[in-house]
Symmetry: C2
Subunit: 228 residues, 2 copies
């Protein structure tokens, strides 16, 4: 028997350790808005919540702080970063620049395997949407779709930054309840993005991507403003 099934999607292919498990779970919960922004984390409570000892928990918290999903202060532990309009604008602006760049490069580099992956990812996403999002399913497939879209951009660092920005952006977008109406419009764009990618129309694809991020930004902003 071998360990071919990755049990964790942590930093790299880290599997199995308590630290990586709690990292994954905490990351999901932070991105999914299950903590209050600005909140101070009570480490002992987290120990219970994630069923893990102190050492692996602290290691996970340290990683998340370095990743930007937590802030760590002097000798007073960890807290969930505050949200701000300025930061949301910053994140959205950066997404525009970086995902636009990545998409153009991906369209230039992507091979036919990419085309297949893209179609598959879009299909899975659409199907999940019909069944109306049981749990985190749609979120995961959505992330996966955007990841696939830019995957062959040729820059490991660009992909890394984009991923990080997505996590940060989702802290805003996923405030409050779901909005199926707007989602439909955004889902429409996902398919148009695939179309344009397959046609290798980099210019139009980038414009659509800009629009897509703009629309998502408006959703996120609304959520943020309602949430305050």
């Amino acid at each position: 028997m071998n360990n071919s099934l990755p049990k964790s999607a942590g930093p790299a292919g880290l599997a199995g350790t308590a630290s990586s498990r709690v990292f994954d779970n905490l990351r999901k919960d932070l991105v999914g808005g299950r903590f209050v922004a600005g909140e101070k984390l009570a480490i002992n409570a987290l120990k219970d919540r994630y069923q893990v000892g102190l050492s692996p928990l602290r290691e996970a918290l340290n990683k998340l702080a370095a990743y930007g999903l937590l802030v760590q202060e002097n000798q007073r532990g960890f807290r969930v970063p505050k949200l701000s309009r300025d930061e949301l604008d910053d994140i959205a602006q950066m997404r525009l620049e970086m995902e636009g760049m990545a998409l153009e490069r991906a369209i230039a580099n992507g091979d036919s395997l990419w085309e297949a992956d893209l179609l598959a990812a879009a299909h899975r996403l659409k199907r999940a949407d019909i069944t109306l999002d049981k749990g985190e399913e749609w979120e995961h497939l959505h992330t996966q779709f955007h990841r696939t879209l830019v995957a062959p951009c040729g820059s490991v660092w660009l992909l890394r930054f984009i991923e990080q920005l997505h996590d940060q952006f989702d802290r805003y977008r996923r405030l409050g309840p779901k909005m199926p109406t707007i989602r439909q419009e955004l889902d429409e764009q996902h398919h148009q993005l695939v179309e344009l990618a397959l046609q290798r129309d980099a210019k139009m694809a980038r414009e659509l991507m800009d629009d897509h991020i703009h629309k998502s930004y408006e959703v996120a902003l609304k959520r943020y403003q309602e949430h305050v």
Copy 2:
């Protein structure tokens, strides 16, 4: 008495903890090339080297892994990331895009305080160069200069990514011994960058920045090729 002196330049204003101290030191050493690329880190040896216990050491290693200066694998600890031509190209390319963008924005936003800071940073850097680099002095002032140059770009995330890319780039640039000849040429450009920034000539400044990064890239590439 208060604690107005920051004792550490860690992730945020983290001061005092053993973890943050060892994080800073390890980061310096990794960026400065005092570890062999690809090397597996012997945690017990690090404990002695940095005079610190296992827990804070592991926390620092976890942070560095999330930051990208280490890689962490399954259940077999930490290692220093390998170097590769492809990655160097990627990093340099990303620096071109991001620092160019940041510089343009900084020139648009920077106030007169920035101008003063910039002149000061350039002066300190030049002076350190004359006294011929005692220890890490020049490196630190160099980092500081580039940081100051883009500081008022208005994007926290852009600054963060640039910082990260600098650390990665320096893993290549700082292989092997110093090269005073080329450094002189690069130092020249630092002053021209200040000139153009003060004149608010964004276009020329960006071109010069591109050239500056290109030249640095050539140095780094040479080092890398000699180092293999």
